[in-house]
């Protein structure tokens, strides 16, 4: 248990204690050694969900970003997160203006196609103004054949009232889901929290290992692995994570080490290009990634509801929660120092106000620190445009210390 006052970000900076990690890595390596595959097999999102659906699994479409996944698991609901479904945007343009972010547009495009795999409803966590309105637009104006749920996430600096409120709305969500999914079993909730706890710890280790170059995964593979959490069953995902080898030794030094921050990781074509250019992403501060993993290693869940409340307040600073800017900068500075990165890549979703506002301060502060910054704006379209390529290459030339003399 963490006293409320300790929820000042990063006062506990010992959470990636190296000795602990090494010990753990060894234990894990021993226990899973014989089952370990050399090649990591990450199931394809659509295939996986289709198989789940075929086996009778209840699946709920969940929009970005923060929601109590353990609670859904406990109701035997598989959350399938909807971030950036591929394909052209056609139907959504009838409902949304041009200046709305592509995550909202792609999310709506997906919903409008009435995908069969989603049979349990949609959940709209409160993330930003655009998603807030999309939730009510879908629920109250467009209409879908499955139920639509919403879940508020407290905003701003957390105050005395926040914690109590969060526990109350968590309970309200439980009550709402019980109406359609039957009474919640406390044992199931506890088991779900325990599973989530294991995943969190493994994710924290992997992130620490990433910062220390102790992986063989390419940039692209790493983010595939992280993003598999968006659709896999908890247990399957934990198994997958346990298959990832963490090396004892530190890998070869790349041409450049970058930290990436933003909503989503860069697209596959950009990641491939970074791989080809021998650039290594050594840390991530992504809403779809580490911003959803607690900042410290939590104790084993005892009272599951209390655990879920604690967990929310232990998530890293994030633009969508709109806490203090300085806290966010301090947190990023830690990641920068730990990962020894040479530069920061801001992977910006076009029209995303939460990120765009924070970014202004963060980029300025980083420049003052002398840290090179590359800002890539994306509408989540596939490919790598000539302009993007020029930007990235010029940035790398700059990191190479200008042009060789």
């Amino acid at each position: 248990m963490y006293p409320f006052d300790a929820i000042v970000y990063l006062q506990r900076d010992d959470h990636y204690k190296r000795s602990d990690l090494e010990q753990r890595a060894q234990i894990d390596a021993m226990s899973i050694n014989d089952t370990k595959d050399k090649v990591l097999k990450i199931p394809d999102r659509s295939d996986y969900l289709r198989d789940q659906r075929r086996s009778g699994q209840e699946i709920m479409g969940v929009l970005p970003a923060l929601y109590p996944r353990e609670l859904l698991w406990a109701f035997n609901i598989l959350p399938a997160e909807i971030w950036d479904p591929p394909g052209e945007i056609l139907l959504a343009n009838v409902h949304l203006q041009a200046s709305i972010c592509p995550i909202v547009k792609r999310g709506l495009e997906f919903i409008l196609k009435s995908p069969e795999i989603i049979n349990s409803g949609y959940l709209f966590p409160h993330t930003c103004d655009s998603l807030q309105n999309l939730g009510t637009q879908v629920k109250d104006l467009i209409g879908v054949p499955v139920p639509v749920y919403t879940f508020y996430n407290p905003k701003g600096e957390f105050n005395k009232a926040s914690k109590r409120y969060y526990s109350e709305i968590l309970f309200n969500l439980q009550k709402t889901l019980e109406k359609s999914h039957g009474l919640l079993s406390q044992n199931q909730l506890k088991a779900a929290c325990e599973l989530g706890h294991k995943i969190d710890i493994r994710r924290q280790m992997l992130h620490a290992a990433l910062m220390e170059d102790r992986f063989d995964l390419s940039n692209r593979e790493y983010f595939q692995l992280i993003r598999a959490a968006e659709y896999m069953q908890g247990q399957d995902y934990l198994d997958l994570l346990n298959h990832v080898e963490i090396n004892e030794q530190i890998g070869v030094a790349p041409r450049a080490r970058l930290l990436v921050t933003g909503i989503l990781p860069p697209g596959d074509d950009i990641l491939n290009f970074l791989d080809e250019s021998r650039v290594r992403i050594v840390s991530e501060d992504l809403l779809s990634g580490s911003r959803r993993i607690p900042i410290v290693e939590m104790d084993q869940p005892d009272d599951p509801m209390e655990y879920l409340v604690e967990r929310f307040f232990l998530l890293p600073p994030c633009s969508t929660k709109a806490g203090g800017l300085d806290k966010r900068l301090q947190y990023l500075k830690k990641l920068i120092a730990k990962s020894r990165c040479h530069g920061v890549l801001f992977n910006t979703v076009k029209f995303c106000e939460p990120e765009l506002f924070d970014q202004h301060f963060l980029i300025k502060s980083m420049k003052v620190m002398g840290l090179p910054v590359l800002n890539l704006e994306t509408e989540l379209q596939p490919g790598l445009s000539g302009q993007e390529k020029t930007r990235i290459e010029a940035f790398l030339e700059m990191l190479d210390e200008g042009v060789p003399v």
Binding site: Q97, D129, T136, L141, Y165, F361
Partner: protein
């Protein structure tokens, strides 16, 4: 607090500002003849101008006399009034910059400092003002406190965080959970708790002590003026409507930025009297009101005059708007006997913090109550909470009520996204369909 600053403030408040204003008033009155499509202008216009100019003008003498708070339009300002803060409304100031067609210039300053051009233009203008110190209203006093609520948008929270960081000034944020369905007990408790927890901070920043009786008095005044404002808007149900919504965009300023002060209450009493008088005499805002329209979303500040004339010339009058209504709509939830919970209800349920089913119902009622013939929606690039969902709102309204409607894409204060050719064509087509519908 220096005695001389206090005296100077008092002198300017009582004598200097009024004298100056009356001079300006004289100059203005002579220079602007009424275009022929309009009825006689409201006499209260002069009084309004005086109040607002005086408010901005006086703000120069405030430092050292009162603590200054920058406040968002949806924040429960009554709490600040108890502590005698001098309040500045940056949104209001940005609208003023927009109305003076200087929005692009101020936005440009913020963009030059690397703020993205995709941010709300109220925010960009204000940040441009903060970075340059420029203002068409002279000079705004630096804040001692920032007070914001996300009951209008999350944007204001980011915007105020940016100011707070840059100027190193404390920020109080009132977190108002979005009403997806209906407010829960938990929502009310959470908001009421936050309000009470603010008291010690406000006492500390202002140096004044909280008295419940003061809050009650302010809430009472606030409620009275909101109700009077609501009645003024309701009077526009009369045919012809005594004023246009474009007038109301201007007369809205005191209820937004002087709410809870006697000056606002006095002003709305005068305005209400004039409006009632016009109704009884059958004086309309436009000379020949043939069609009655509803406006959705915030004003397009740099084009108010253009739009007013465009429609007046076609015998069309805007008689109601979701925007102007926002400061009257939820006031009946306020209960002076139960201030904390009832403030949570009043402020938590304002239009932009409420779901679209609610908005649809409200608009249908307005269309009915005000005998509306057509609808113009302004889809504004700046404002996601007001604009996301508008396409479907329009569809729901025009199909169920068979109401001609049009959406124009523009912005509240950044005139660079305005395309006159395109918008004019759309509006003309809309007017034609309106005339056709009513002919057939």
């Amino acid at each position: 607090m220096s005695l001389s600053a206090k005296l100077k403030y008092k002198f300017m408040k009582d004598y200097g500002a009024p004298a100056l204003m009356s001079l300006q008033g004289l100059k203005r009155r002579r220079s602007r003849p009424t275009p022929s499509a309009f009825g006689p202008p409201l006499e209260s216009n002069a009084r309004l101008k005086e109040i607002l100019t005086r408010h901005y003008y006086l703000s120069r003498f405030v430092p050292g006399v009162k603590k200054v708070a920058w406040v968002t339009s949806g924040a429960p300002v009554e709490l600040l009034r108890v502590f005698d803060f001098y309040t500045i409304y940056p949104e209001n100031h940005s609208a003023l910059v927009g109305a003076k067609k200087q929005g692009a210039e101020y936005c440009g300053i913020a963009e030059g400092d690397s703020f993205s051009q995709d941010l709300c233009s109220y925010a960009r203008i204000d940040l441009g003002h903060m970075l340059s110190g420029k203002s068409p209203a002279g000079k705004l006093p630096k804040p001692d406190l920032l007070f914001c609520s996300n009951n209008i948008c999350q944007t204001v929270l980011y915007w105020y965080k940016a100011i707070s960081q840059e100027l190193d000034i404390p920020l109080i944020h009132f977190d108002a959970p979005f009403v997806s369905d209906r407010q829960s007990e938990a929502d009310i408790r959470y908001m009421a708790q936050q309000l009470q927890d603010m008291i010690p901070i406000l006492e500390q920043v202002s140096g004044n002590v909280f008295y419940m009786s003061d809050l009650e008095a302010v809430l009472k005044r606030s409620q009275d003026s909101s109700r009077t404002w609501g009645n003024i808007l309701k009077a526009m149900q009369a045919k012809p409507a005594p004023m246009t919504i474009f007038d109301a965009f201007g007369h809205l300023a005191p209820i937004v930025s002087l709410r809870g002060l006697p000056v606002a209450q006095d002003y709305y009493n005068i305005l209400a009297e004039e409006i009632d008088d016009r109704v009884s005499k059958g004086i309309g805002a436009i000379r020949d009101e043939k069609y009655r329209l509803i406006w959705d979303n915030i004003a397009i500040w740099y084009k108010v005059r253009y739009l007013a004339t465009f429609f007046a010339e076609r015998k069309m009058n805007f008689v109601t708007a979701t925007y102007t209504n926002a400061w009257a709509e939820t006031i009946d939830h306020l209960n002076i006997k139960d201030p904390w919970n009832s403030m949570a209800r009043t402020y938590g349920q304002i239009i932009l913090n409420n779901n679209l089913k609610h908005r649809l119902g409200l608009m249908r009622r307005m269309i009915d109550d005000f005998s509306v013939d057509g609808m113009v929606m302004h889809s504004t690039r700046s404002c996601k909470p007001y604009s996301v969902g508008q396409y479907d709102l329009r569809k729901a309204i025009s199909t169920s009520l068979n109401l001609p409607s049009v959406i124009i894409d523009a912005d509240i204060a950044d005139e660079r996204v305005w395309s006159e050719q395109q918008i004019q064509t759309r509006l003309e087509a809309f007017c034609e369909s309106l005339e056709d519908t009513n002919r057939g």
